[in-house]
Structure formats: C-alpha cells, structure tokens
C-alpha cells in the first residue's frame, strides 16, 4: 500500500478517478503473462506526457518504485510490480499522432496496439515491420521497451531497427526527446540504448517509428516432416541457398496437437514438425524461390510439401502459428515459457538436448520456433497443483538456458530478461560485462526506482549466484 499522501499527490496529477487503490483493482495489475507476481500500492492511468512526468515526479520525491505497463502480455515479468509501488498503466495514451507517408514515419503514443497501427497503415501500403505474435493485444510502448521481435525479424530486423525517435520521461520525471524523424543525430545513440531497456531507463510517451512499404506479394510454403531435425536441416539449407525468407517457423508435434485441439486449422497431428516458410517481395522472384524451398524440403524427405496457397489459406496458417501460445496454455493451464536463442547452425544439436531435458524432467515441452533466427520457444507445461510443478519446470528452463549459453547463444531472443531471468545473465555475461550495463542504468536511474529487480542480477547476492552460476 502506498501512503495516503502519495495517493493524493497522484490524484492531483491525473484526477482521483484515474488512481486505483481498491484491492480488487490492484490485483488485476499484479501480474502479466509470466509467472512473476507482485501487488502494487496504486495504479495510475495518465493521459499525456505531462501527466506521466507528474506521476513519476511524485514517485521520485517519495522514493517509490514504479512500473510502466501496456497490455501486460510480457512473458518475462517485465510489467509485474515485484517490488510493489506504483503501476503506470499507459492504456489511455493510445493515439496515433501522425502518419507521415512521404517520409515513411509514424508518431504514436505507447498505448497503441501493434495491430491497430498496422491496420491504420495498410491503406497507404505501409507497415511497421515488428510483428510479435501478441500483436493483436500488445502495445507499441511495450514492443519498444522489450525490443520485441516476431516472425518477420529474419528479414526485417527487430524493433530497435525501426525506432528513430522517442519522448522519454526519465526516472527523475524530466521529459526528454531522443532522436527525431531523421536517423543518426550527432552524439551517443540514446534511442538505440533505450529500446529494450525494459522500463528501467524511464517511460517512452511518444515514439517515432520507421515505416516500410508492404511487400507486393507473399507466398507460403508448408512442409510436414517426420523428424524435427529434418525440419531444422531444411532451414539451414534454405539459408545456405542464399535465400532470406520473410519468416521460417517450425512447430513441433506437441504444439500442433495443442493448436488442433483448440483452434482446428487442418494441420496433421501425426507429424513431428511443420515448417512454415513465408517468402515476400516482388512477384517475379517468388515463384522460383518457392520452388527452390519446396525442392529442399522434398530432398529432406518431407512427407508433404505445399506451395501457392490462396491468401485465405495463408492467413489460416499464420493464425495457427500465432495462436500456438494460447492453444498450449489451454491444454496446460500452467506453462513456463522461454525463448533461448542460438546460432542457427547449432539448432539440431540444441533440439536433441532439449528433447533429453524433456525426457529427464518428465515434463512435456512444446517447441515452437522462429527457426531462421535460431529463436526457440520452449513452452514447458506443468501442473501448479503439483507442489513441485513450478520448481521442476524452472529447473528444466534453467537447463535449457545452459544449453543455449553453451553453444554461444543467449537466454532471451525477444521476451526480455524481466523478473524471471536476471540470475541467468551470468551464464552469458561476465561480472565486468554486467557492471558495464549497470553503469548505464545508473546514469538513467540513479535512485533505482524504474522497474527495480528487473534485467540485471543483484550485486553479489547468494540467491542469484546459485541460480545462474551453478554448473
């Protein structure tokens, strides 16, 4: 609970009706899509940059931690107030401020939902490239804070490649502008540094985004395999053949079964893997590339390969892919998600090792991955009624992080470190590497109030050491 005086001060900034303090309301903001939990003392709903600044100033004055929140789809605990304090919910700041078609830029507020922006842009033949699977709900502010990915990163890059300017409320409450519509402002790249800082450098209240023309056409190739490894090999060969598809996605059998059980899409449930290849660009180039991809899959004994579906069919397949997370969650109410990422060539051996983890832990792990990027989503299903359930799932996740780190990969490709993974940062970074990151955080947030407990491990705590460094 925050002090009555603080509630009053917050109410003076945003109005009493935009400060929530009832336990039932607070509960709604105590979690996100991860396993992290924490009860906030108050929730505020500001409507402008000035209000966000005012709220943050109140927090800074009273030394109260604050956590910015969009749609709460975060998969690493980034938006859960694990240290209490004030949740700053940005849902009311959902205006698209400008679509500058000529310069291919959009200026938006953080509460705009990713897909809503895409729908506004499509009539002008434009898109914002990052397309996280959560795009129907997740907000652009969250996408920027997390440096979100999505299936099309393979060709178009991650969020950081598409953000050029930011209005930021620093943890002191001060309002700053970083960058502009024009890339490369002299000085350090504060925009690049801010994107992906998971709410620990401040709160972005306006964002200038790079837009790209929608591709002229797209084509999907789907191949069904009797082994996961063969699907992985197909990905390697496609890349080696000098093609860069817009997306290369693999779903394993457990995922296919989950999708078919919840959102039937006509996928066969007796195959070990389905590989979804999306090619986009000029019509002329696509037919031949699709043929080449199909030939590669056939060489690898794909059970069947289909190309050239209609756009309705393409949409259906993509929906199957995008619904995979929700579908898996329906089968197993409790699920621990991770997104370890490895150099693409190490995928086959990593898959073997994860299957081994599955066997040893006795837990079912649904694997779905942006294979072109080596970005693996291992959805570990467990039973919360089993007192050991979460613990066993966490041990399996830890094992997967170690496997990824061992082959030169990383512990998170797009979900963020959040509250769940700071302890594992030591698997991939030395104490000096982490200190360098801490220095930057302290420049932005010397008081340590912006989303505390996230991203970096605590200095010298025994707990974190146990988690990360025990090998």
């Amino acid at each position: 609970m925050v002090d009555k005086k603080v509630v009053k001060a917050l109410a003076r900034v945003v109005g009493r009706q935009n400060v929530l303090t009832e336990p039932a309301d607070l509960l709604l903001y105590s979690y996100d899509s991860s396993t992290a939990r924490g009860m906030p003392g108050a929730v505020v709903l500001p409507a402008s940059t000035e209000e966000v600044s005012g709220v943050v100033k109140v927090c800074a004055r009273h030394r109260i931690p604050f956590v910015a929140r969009g749609a709460g789809t975060n998969l690493s605990g980034g938006s859960a107030p694990i240290r209490g304090g004030v949740v700053i919910a940005l849902a009311r700041m959902n205006r698209v401020l400008e679509i500058d078609v000529e310069n291919q830029r959009a200026v938006v507020e953080p509460g705009v939902v990713n897909l809503d922006l895409q729908n506004v842009l499509a009539p002008d033949g434009l898109q914002f490239c990052p397309d996280p699977a959560s795009q129907k709900v997740s907000t652009l502010g969250g996408n920027v804070a997390e440096n979100a990915g999505g299936p099309h990163c393979l060709k178009y890059g991650v969020t950081a490649n598409h953000v050029l300017g930011l209005t930021v409320v620093l943890p002191s409450g001060e309002v700053r502008r970083f960058g502009s519509k024009v890339e490369g402002t002299p000085g350090y790249d504060l925009v690049g540094l801010f994107v992906g800082s998971e709410g620990t450098f401040g709160i972005a209240t306006e964002m200038v985004l790079r837009l790209r023309p929608l591709p002229e056409s797209a084509q999907i190739v789907v191949a069904f395999f009797d082994s996961l490894e063969a699907a992985g090999e197909a990905v390697s060969r496609i890349i080696a053949a000098r093609m860069v598809p817009a997306a290369l996605e693999i779903m394993d059998r457990a995922t296919i079964e989950a999708v078919e059980a919840s959102f039937p899409s006509g996928l066969p449930t007796d195959v070990e893997a389905v590989l979804l290849i999306e090619l986009d660009g000029l019509k002329e180039a696509l037919d031949r590339q699709a043929e080449r991809c199909a030939a590669i899959c056939r060489e690898l004994k794909a059970r069947s390969v289909e190309i050239g579906r209609t756009s309705e069919e393409q949409e259906r397949l993509w929906n199957a892919r995008r619904s995979a997370f929700g579908a898996t969650a329906r089968i197993s109410p409790e699920m621990l998600v991770n997104d370890a990422t490895v150099p693409r060539t190490r995928l086959p051996e990593v898959l073997r090792q994860i299957q081994e983890v599955e066997r040893k832990s006795g837990l079912r792990i649904a694997k779905i991955f942006h294979a072109g990027d080596g970005n693996l989503h291992s959805n570990i299903m467990f039973d919360r009624d089993d007192p050991e359930g979460l613990h066993r799932a966490e041990s399996a996740a830890a094992e997967i992080f170690r496997i990824a780190a061992g082959v030169g990969g990383t512990i998170t490709g797009e979900h963020g470190v959040g509250a769940e993974k700071p302890g594992f940062m030591r698997l991939i970074y030395s104490p000096e590497d982490i200190e360098a990151q801490r220095k930057v955080r302290e420049v932005f947030d010397p008081q340590g109030l912006a989303n505390p407990g996230k991203v970096l491990p605590e200095r010298e705590t025994a707990g974190a050491k146990e988690e990360g460094a025990a090998e």
Binding site: V182, Y188, G192, K421, Y429, E432, D433
Partner: protein, 438 residues
Amino acid sequence: MSGLSTALWRLESIVGEEDLLTETQAVSEHRLEGQQPVAVARPGSAQEAAALLQAASEEKLSVLVRGAGKHLHLGSPPGPIGVVVSMGRLGRIVEYDADDLTVTAEAGMSLGGLQEVVGKQGQMLALDPPGPESATLGGIAATSLSGPMRMRCGTPRDLVLGLRVALTDGTVVKTGGKTVKNVAGYELNKLFVGSLGTLGAICELTLRLAPLPEGRAMVMAALSPSEAEEVAARLAGSRLELTSFEVANQVACERMLGALPVTVTPDCYVIFLGLMGDGEAIARQEREARELVSGGCARVDGEEADGIWRRLREAAYPSAREAVVVRASVPVARVGETVKMVSSWEGWWVVAWAGEGVVYAGPPEGDDLSEIGGKLLQLRSKAEEGGGFAILESGPVELKREFPVWGAETANADLMRSLKESFDPAGIMGCGRFVPGL
C-alpha cells in the same frame, strides 16, 4: 618529464618495444590536424588494448584509437594526443560459419578483407561507407558511416550484433552476442557504435551478413529539376525494392563521377537507382523504373554497375586532405529542396542518398573559408528545420575551429556526458574530436 617517461615505460611493458613507437619520425606520421602524438602503441590483443587504456587513464595520457586512419578527418580538431592506439595488429577472422550468416572478426580487419572472405561463401557485409575498402571494421563501427546501400540494408547500428570493447578500467567487456535476436541485457552495442572512440576501444565485432545478390544493375537518367522531383515522388509511392537511390548534380557528375552513360546537361540532376536480386526481379524493376522516369534511361549491370556504385561512394569522401565535405541528414521529403539549394551555389557539388535523406556536398576548389562556413550554416539551418542536422565531415582546421563541426548544440548533452564519465572517468578517450564534452 619523468612522469612521461614512466608512462611510456608502462605502455612499452604492455605491448613490447617493437610495438610502442616513440621516435619522432614514426609518431610524426600520425600527426593529426597539428597535433603530434607522444607515442603510438599497437596492441596484439584485446587484453593488451585494455591494459594500454588503463595505463593511459592512470597516467592521464589522452588516447586516440585508430584503424587504417581512413576517417580521421572526421570530427573537431583534436586536443593534445598522448598515445595513438593503433588496431592494425588485430586483423583476424575469429569465427565464421557461413550458414549462420554472421561473422566475428577483429576490429583491425579491413572491410575489403572481410568482403573477400565472406564473398567466397556467397555472402557480403551490406555496408558501403564512403571511402576506401581498406577502412577497418572497428573504424566503420566507431564512425557509424554508411553508404548508398543503407536504404535496403541499414547502417552499422543495424548490423552489429555484438562487440568486445576494451575499457579504461582495464577490462574487456562483451556487449550483445552472436545472434540476430538477443534482448538479454541492455543494447550496449548501440552505445559504442558511432561513439568515435570516446568510450573505449572496439576490439572485436560480430556482424550480420547478407547473401550476395545474384545480380546487380543500375538504372540512370539525367533529368531537369522539375522532372527529378516528380520522379522522386513517384518512386516513393512505388513498390520497387530499390537497394539505393542517389541523386547527383551536374557539378558532381562532371567533377567526380567520370564518364556516365547519360548525357549530363547544365542544371540537370542525374538519378541512380540501384537494383539487386535475380534476373527476373531486376528486369521487371528496370521496366517499371523506365516507366516512372518516362524519359531516356540508361542501364548498366555487373562490373559496370559496381563501378558507378563505387564512384558514388568515393564522391562523398574527401578528394584530398582538408577538402571540404559536408553531410546533411534531412527527412526524405526534403531531399529535393536541399539538393536544389546547394546546387544554386556557384560550383558546389552535391551527391545525395536520396532514399535515406543523406546529402553530401562540397564547395568548388579555392572558395573562401568564411564563404564556405556561411554556406555550411545555411545548410545546417535548412536541415534542422526538418529535424535533421549537418556535420562538417572534412575541411581545413581553421574552418573546423570557426564553425562547429557537429552543430551548435547537442540535445541531452548532460546524459551523454554522464555516460562518458561512467566509462572514461579520467576523460582521456577521443581527444575531443566528438561532440563537445564527449
């Protein structure tokens, strides 16, 4: 004096006698804009580089990190230079598995050297900054320069996946990683890329590669000013997948681009459309480009296209020591008016990466410095109107002293200075070449 000799002794004990140059003749080759370094050190490893920076920091010797020295003309005139840390010995490929489409190389490796290695596997680093290919990877990252291809492929900030950086506290830190997607921790890559050696020394880079295109072609047309503007507008609304889109004025064509397959007439602009891809895709785009331009076009491909591509890059690079080159960045929709403004100045050349809003320009030889400075300020205020900026990339020291190289003021300078102080508390890195205070 004894302080200095202790310092030099320390540096020598790190790299060895052979790789610490203090002889007048040797160090005078590293003279930069009137400043002669006390010593030149050539580290043989990232650890040695870090030890050098730590010693320099403790001995209060200022440090200028350099690669092949191809972009030392950038930036404000340096203050006193203590030691030049020259990365030339760090020139190896550290790790390259072509199927990963990434490569890890040491900072002293040249761009050309890397292109040769990855080219054998049908890949390329999609960066074509102005200047020679002997420029090093570390230098390209530190300057964050990019060329015509950035329209399709991005800039160093988009292609650097990971770094190893030597810091002034003697540590070598890793930033980022080896995968395209990586959100573990803060994006420190972005802090070091473009920081012009003011925070540490980049020793190793992991870079994202791209497949070499099956073919390359360039479509060109010489247009009147009004035609050029119409074509640019039509291009912006088209779905052509251009790799690059440049515009050059008559002076630039005649002075720098050599023989072109189009007829350059007074006051015309030549546009260059770069196309990459397979034969059919190029053929179709060429067809559409011709329709868009609706006039006489010329098309070249293969080596001839590469040749013109190279000349465009070179045009933006100072043709001689102290030659004046200004780079303005403006919103794409303002390229036309910016290019026109510069072309209205007697004898000025201009080459723009029009698809990206980058405008390079320079005065005729022998122009008066205060005249040039006045034009720089005009160009700068034009750029700033649209949220852009203009940098004096190269020029005589007197010009750089008189007219601020990076702009009148830097937004968020206080935050940047705090970042600088965190990594370089003694303030030894960069010798004052970057924006004031960094």
